[in-house]
């Protein structure tokens, strides 16, 4: 870091020399302007944030220094502050004028006259006698020097170093490790015993304990290849992908919901999870693995396996989506940042997101490069993709459209037929209105009338009478149920209120009679116009009022009284029409029988590749210079040829990431795999290989493995074998005080680092030991809150908003961000789960049934239980303690667990169960 700053300074020094050459000889008048009007303002208003002094106090803002002439010319993050002679250029004047987003000084605008002074000064050439060097670098990166950082150099293969204990090494890894130990005077641990090794390897590769049969087979196999045979078996297991796929899901911040305010599930998320598991199981070459995740939709291969081709896009498609509101652009920039962060830390081991608002403080990643890279994602959309070829999607879409059409036709038939009925009634609209009014008025004044008889007498259809009654009743003066009939409804309402009923009748007042006649006549006229045949003559048009009227009572939808809705029309239809409708429904049913199956979907991404401008300080409304689309410059020269293309697509991004010349991609993945075997990577900061990350403990080993990884076709299974067949991996976990004194954290691998199982392996092991595990692969996720969820933990629902409490309690990573490693904290809530949860009690019970069946004798049961739980024979002491507990009475309360159940639970709860040596 210090070294880098120094070179930057040197670079800047050169710049200033050339700057000096340009400066004209200042004349006295110009000098006076500066001294009287400019300098005092700069000192008083600007220096507190923009000077060497401010820089020293870490108060420098925007990388801009105004206490030297050069500082003004070079400018800060937003570009040069002034361009002498050109007031229109540079950022200073606009900032003083408060005309752009950048307003300076931030608290109060300077007086207009002062701003005018600045303008005059710049116009006159910005004469500035001040000298002195700016102490901060703003624009200069010495690329050549920056590339000297180990991680930016291409990895090379190194010969095995010389060691003293020549017989110790088992394969290419060991000499590197042993040499480092010998250099420090540390002795490696003895080899682990076979039982320990099998348990370790089994949890390591498939996340499940070995069965007693597997243990016996391994102990019986005395061939030198015995362990290699075990590895072959484990690597061929479909459970391997479940174990190692999950590690990748940590990196890819896999979650099954968006990041909105409330849980918004992504229903097809599991497809990505299953894709990752399958990719590991099939040992998909790592470069292809990345290529498909970044640009599966754009690569040529595979052609017709749409799951393989597209489901990996969930790497991006399951990224954060936030609430937009009025700041959609800024929020979208945050979403883009989530993708850049996951991409750069996850795949490249670089913290590129640091450069979103300012040049990276440690690494050679200027803000410009952030926006160059982000172009790959700019304009992309996260969406649901069909996992099927376009023509199949098209067939399904057509089928869906046809279904919609047929259903609509059947529905429309009912509507049309209903209108036909409505029109028959419409002719008697006057009667309908008056009868309906009479019924409403009778009801209001509690006059007993025989409704059915009246309707029958007047030869009306009770259905339409009922509809009119409802409309009159639902109307108020302020809100008529049919606005087009406002007048009539108002009069009708008033008439209801003022009606003078006799014992068994209500007379229609004259005013209403009149209004009804008028309305009926208008309707009749409108209907006549409507019915006039078009013929050759142009059909006479309805007046707007007529049109409105017909729509309101007959031709409209919803509340229209003479237009029965489809669901009500069916009952009203004559038999023939009913038959006709049934045949239409039949057509729908037949179409449904010929259903094109629902197509699977996955969450993916489409588009992108739009060039961006620098967002000054990460603000979307403060655009700076254009950022030429492309890859990170620090990596670019290493990659075959710098792209001259105007666009930078996701495919270009995939090419750049997966290029065998990229110095980071292979190293980063090798280090991740190494970390999950040893508990710590060769680089201790697996997502940060930059200058602020940790240096590798075994740089040559890392490089050699990275090169060989690529040479073997980016095979992750090769890497597992290479690591696990090493003497380094096969060491015992025995602690050594002497070694620990020299290397307390075992960075140099003087033993295998023992560790607690992570939550997945621990929960799965409990299910496995108790015989409850449902080993089914793949498919939609289950909630861990469901008692019936006895599948492997990887099949549990993962949420950003409402993460499962069991997972969170046991250090499962926050799915909001890419995670590089898991913690291993110990909190009492975990132990409460172990002691009291239904999950544990149920598992203990199931386990106790297995133990019970093994023998009738307490001692034998203890022995069998130890074999199942720990894969070993208990000592005499353990046997005695266990048997004594089984003889104890246990609790006599109804429903209390038996002594055997309690014993079974203690085994599952024990440290030994969750510990891997």
């Amino acid at each position: 870091m210090l070294r880098m700053c120094r070179t930057l300074l040197i670079g800047l020094g050169l710049l200033m020399l050339s700057g000096r050459g340009i400066a004209a000889e200042p004349d006295a008048k110009a000098l006076e302007l500066f001294e009287k009007k400019i300098r005092p303002v700069l000192v008083e208003k600007c220096y507190s944030c923009h000077s060497a002094e401010a820089a020293k106090n870490k108060k420098l803002k925007g990388g801009l220094q105004l206490d030297t002439r050069q500082g003004l010319l070079t400018g800060g993050e937003t570009g040069p502050a002034i361009v002498p002679g050109k007031p229109a250029e540079g950022t200073l004047l606009n900032a003083l004028r408060y005309t752009t987003d950048l307003k300076m000084p931030p608290t109060t605008k300077l007086a207009d006259s002062v701003v005018a002074d600045f303008e005059a000064w710049i116009k006159a050439g910005a004469v500035d006698p001040r000298d002195g060097k700016t102490s901060v670098a703003t624009a200069g990166i010495d690329w050549e020097f920056a590339r000297k950082h180990w991680a930016f150099q291409s990895p090379k293969k190194y010969p095995a170093p010389a060691v003293k204990q020549v017989g110790w090494s088992q394969n290419g890894i060991d000499a590197f490790v042993l040499a480092a130990l010998e250099k420090r005077g540390i002795q490696p641990a003895k080899p682990a015993d076979k039982r320990t090794l099998l348990r370790r390897a089994s949890f390591d590769l498939i996340g499940l304990p070995p069965t007693p049969q597997e243990l016996e087979a391994f102990l019986a196999d005395e061939s030198p290849n015995a362990f290699a045979t075990v590895l072959d078996r484990l690597l061929a297991s479909p459970h391997y992908g479940e174990r190692w796929g999950r590690y990748w899901l940590d990196v890819s911040r896999y979650a099954e919901d968006k990041a909105l305010a409330f849980p918004t599930p992504r229903p097809h998320a599991y497809q990505y999870r299953d894709w990752v598991v399958q990719a590991f199981n099939s040992d998909m070459p790592y470069d292809r693995f990345l290529r498909l995740q970044l640009a599966g939709d754009m690569v040529k291969e595979p052609v017709d396996d749409y799951f393989l081709k597209l489901a990996g896009l969930g790497f991006q498609g399951l990224g954060a989506e936030y609430h937009k509101g009025s700041v959609a652009e800024q929020v979208k920039a945050d979403e883009l940042d989530d993708r850049i962060d996951t991409l750069s830390r996850g795949l490249l081991g670089l913290t590129v997101a640091c450069a979103r608002c300012h040049d990276h403080k440690f690494d050679p990643i200027p803000t410009r490069d952030y926006y160059s890279l982000a172009a790959a994602y700019k304009g992309s959309d996260l969406n649901e993709l069909f996992l099927a070829p376009n023509d199949v999607v098209e067939i399904r879409r057509k089928w869906e459209a046809k279904l919609k059409e047929l259903e609509a036709a059947a529905n429309q038939y009912l509507v049309d037929q209903g209108r036909v009925l409505g029109k028959t009634a419409l002719v008697y609209v006057r009667k309908y209105l008056l009868v309906a009014w009479q019924l409403v008025a009778s009801k209001k004044h509690k006059v007993e009338v025989n409704t059915a008889e009246i309707i029958k007498r007047e030869r009306l259809d009770p259905y339409f009478v009922a509809r009119w009654t409802k409309i009159i009743e639902a109307s108020t003066k302020a809100k008529p149920a049919l606005p087009a009939l406002k007048n009539w409804l108002t009069i009708a309402q008033e008439a209801v209120d003022s009606a003078k009923p006799t014992a068994n009748s209500i007379a229609v007042p004259e005013s209403l009679q009149k209004a009804t006649d008028q309305l009926a006549e208008k309707i009749r006229d409108a209907l006549a116009v409507h019915d006039m045949a078009g013929g050759k003559e142009k059909k006479p048009a309805l007046t707007p009022r007529q049109d409105e009227l017909l729509k309101a009572i007959w031709l409209g939808g919803g509340n229209t009284p003479f237009a029965p809705p489809a669901n009500e029309a069916l009952a009203l239809l004559p038999e023939a029409a009913k038959k006709q409708h049934a045949s239409l429904l039949d057509t729908v049913a037949k179409h449904k029988q010929a259903e094109i199956p629902q197509l699977p979907k996955a969450h993916g991404i489409s588009g992108g590749g739009q060039a961006m401008k620098i967002n000054v300080r990460g603000k979307v409304d403060s655009l700076g210079e254009p950022a030429p689309p492309g890859f990170l410059r620090i990596l670019d020269s290493q990659i075959s040829k710098p792209s001259e293309k105007p666009a930078f697509t996701r495919l270009d991004l995939a090419d750049a990431v997966c290029s065998a010349d990229n110095p980071l991609t292979a190293r980063v993945m090798v280090n991740r795999i190494w970390q999950h075997h040893f508990g710590r990577g060769i680089v201790g900061t697996p997502s940060n290989f930059g200058l602020s990350g940790e240096a590798p403990t075994h740089p040559k080993l890392l490089d050699t493995l990275a090169v060989r990884f690529v040479e073997t076709g980016w095979s992750i299974k090769w890497l597992h074998r290479e690591i696990m067949l090493s003497a380094t991996y096969q060491q015992s976990s025995q602690h050594s005080p002497t070694s620990a004194e020299i290397d307390p954290e075992n960075h140099y691998l003087w033993r295998f680092a023992p560790h607690r199982l992570d939550v997945e392996a621990w929960r799965d092991a409990i299910l496995s030991a108790s015989g409850r595990l449902d080993a089914k692969l793949a498919g939609p996720s289950l909630s861990l809150l469901e008692a019936t969820h006895v599948r492997r933990t990887i099949y549990s629902r993962i949420s950003r908003i409402d993460p499962d409490k069991l997972l969170v309690m046991f250090d499962f990573p926050d799915a909001n961000v890419s995670s590089e490693k898991r913690g291993a904290t110990t909190i009492p809530q975990q132990q409460l789960f172990v002691l009291n949860s239904d999950f544990m009690l149920r598992s203990a019970k199931a386990f106790s049934v297995i133990i019970e069946k093994s023998s009738t004798k307490g001692e034998d049961r203890v022995a069998w239980a130890y074999r199942l739980a720990f894969g070993r024979v208990p000592t005499a002491r353990e046997q005695a303690i266990g048997a004594a507990f089984l003889r104890s009475e246990g609790e006599k309360k109804m429903g209390s667990p038996t002594a055997l159940e309690q014993f079974a639970q203690a085994l599952l709860a024990s440290n030994e169960f969750t510990w891997v040596d």
Binding site: A259, L260, A261, F262, P263, Y322, H323, G325, S326, V327, Q330, D334, D337, D338, T351, T685, S687, N688, S692, E694, H735, P737, P754, H755, R756, S799, R800, I801, D802, P803, K805, V808, M809, D811, N816, V817, T825, T826, I827, P828, Q829, Q830, Q831, L832, F833, V834, L835, N836, S837, L841, R877, E878, F885, K893, P897, A906, S910, N911, E912, W915
Partner: protein
């Protein structure tokens, strides 16, 4: 049944030093464990702290400052108008003209601090309260602003301040979680609000969803064994610890094994300690009455305030009480009616909390913080609502180290934008840490190759509000 001590005697040297010390510690208070084994053990602050606990009354959704703690008479004279100064202040939605508050702001206490009549009970404590009227934050959306208020960053990338405090100071009571979050259901952002992020998981907030009538035995998940009595479970635990001791004989150097052995003992004690701590119904009726709502009934917020008092009394470091699930204060419509209702439900419990803390001498060592993730617009949204407003809002503090009876900073004449002595959330955080005896520039954690702070590269301690 064997006693614990007998069991330990029989286990001989099975436990490592730290584990033994922890198991022997019966009180559960003070620092029972070496920090290697127990990351929650008490740690020394940077300097003498003014307070030990924080109770954060989190009015999620964003209360309206001009209806609660920031009186703006100019809204009446400019009702319905849109002054030029509003033009550039973009909020989530489109707003209409200025909408005056229908509520009165009487002068309260000796100080004469003006507080809305909606907080009639709370305002009796005016002389203990410092209202910051010039709060501001960065974005007018709930999610980022919630993250900012909780973690000092707009995205879900940084640990919550509660996690930082546990990391920096540990906690006094090892039998209770050190950072308790009370919310019925989940607020916006869910559990990400109190996440530990890159800090160890032990520092995450412990969210408890406690309706008024919860059973203290269910307060923390899995607190009760449904099959075994305490004595029988002790017996089973003794068996388990014997197994663990034997397992550890060959592995004396492995600290995580020690920690887990000790943790089982803590869990066992927690089964008794936690129900006791949360059992607010054991308080005398006179105390319970204090916390009831104006309707004379105990509501969720009242019982939560009482629990918070009981928790800080027992040494819990941070208690956050969310006003409710989702975003109760998000009054885009019917702002006045909703404020009446929300204040009605919380006013008396808040006053009770202050009274009760004072009565027990706990107010001196506790900071009570009231506020939302932002405020609301003085202009109306849709006539009767108010939109989000991050440009300016109010929060208040009371308790140890706080100067009471004062208003700090100010918004413009309409209450839109913080103008005088502007206080960013970072400054609030810096001040909270300061009160806890921590220098916000020195409380750092190295992750991913660089040092991180709660306040990032900002934050100024508000010296003027400190007593």
């Amino acid at each position: 049944m064997q006693t614990r001590r007998e069991m330990l005697a029989r286990m001989g040297t099975g436990l490592g030093i730290t584990g033994l010390a922890s198991v022997l510690n019966e009180s559960g208070s003070a620092a029972p464990l070496g920090s290697a084994a127990n990351p929650l053990a008490l740690k020394a602050p940077h300097y003498k702290p003014r307070i030990k606990h924080i109770i954060h009354l989190y009015m999620n959704g964003g209360p309206s400052q001009v209806d609660t703690f920031d009186p703006k008479p100019a809204l009446k004279t400019h009702e319905g108008k849109r002054p030029d100064m509003i033009a550039g202040l973009k909020t989530e939605n489109t707003t209409l003209g200025l909408k005056p508050s229908p509520f009165n702001f009487p002068k309260c206490g000796k100080s004469g601090l003006e507080i809305s009549e909606l907080f009639k009970e709370t305002s009796r404590h005016a002389d203990e309260m410092c209202v910051i009227r010039s709060m501001y934050t960065d974005v007018p959306n709930h999610e980022p602003s919630m993250f900012m208020m909780n973690s000092g960053h707009l995205q879900a990338l940084r640990p919550s301040y509660g996690s930082w405090l546990l990391y920096g100071l540990g906690t006094e009571n090892q039998n209770l979680p050190g950072y308790v979050v009370l919310c019925p259901g989940l607020p916006v952002n869910g559990a990400a609000n109190w996440g530990n992020r890159f800090l160890p998981g032990v520092y995450q907030g412990c969210h408890l969803n406690l309706p008024v009538d919860f059973s203290p035995k269910d307060v923390i998940p899995h607190l009760e064994n449904k099959g075994l009595s305490a004595a029988a479970q002790r017996n089973q635990l003794d068996l388990l610890q014997q197994m663990n001791a034997i397992h550890q004989e060959e592995r004396k150097a492995e600290a995580p094994l020690d920690a887990r052995i000790a943790s089982f003992e803590m869990a066992f004690r927690m089964q008794t300690a936690a129900p006791e701590a949360f059992d607010w119904k054991s308080e005398p009726a006179s105390v319970q009455d204090l916390y009831k709502g104006t309707d004379g009934k105990m509501n969720y917020f009242g019982s939560s305030c009482m629990i918070a008092r009981r928790l800080v009394e027992r040494g819990v470091r941070v208690v956050q009480i969310y006003s409710g699930a989702g975003q109760p204060w998000d009054t885009h419509g019917a702002n006045d009616a909703q404020h009446r209702q929300l204040c009605g439900a919380t006013d008396k419990p808040i006053a009770a909390l202050l009274t009760d803390l004072k009565r027990l001498g706990l107010l001196d060592e506790t900071l009570v913080l009231w506020g939302g993730e932002f405020g609301r617009t003085p202009a109306s949204q849709g006539g009767d609502g108010r939109d989000h407003n991050h440009w300016g809002f109010s929060a208040w503090l009371a308790g140890g180290g706080i100067k009471g009876g004062m208003a700090y900073g100010a918004t413009d004449e309409f209450g839109y934008r913080a103008t005088e002595k502007r206080v960013h959330v970072h400054d609030l955080h810096a001040t909270m840490l300061h009160l806890m005896g921590l220098d916000h520039e020195k409380l750092i954690y190295r992750y991913g190759g660089r040092d991180h702070r709660l306040t990032d590269v900002s934050g100024v301690v508000l010296k003027d509000i400190l007593a």
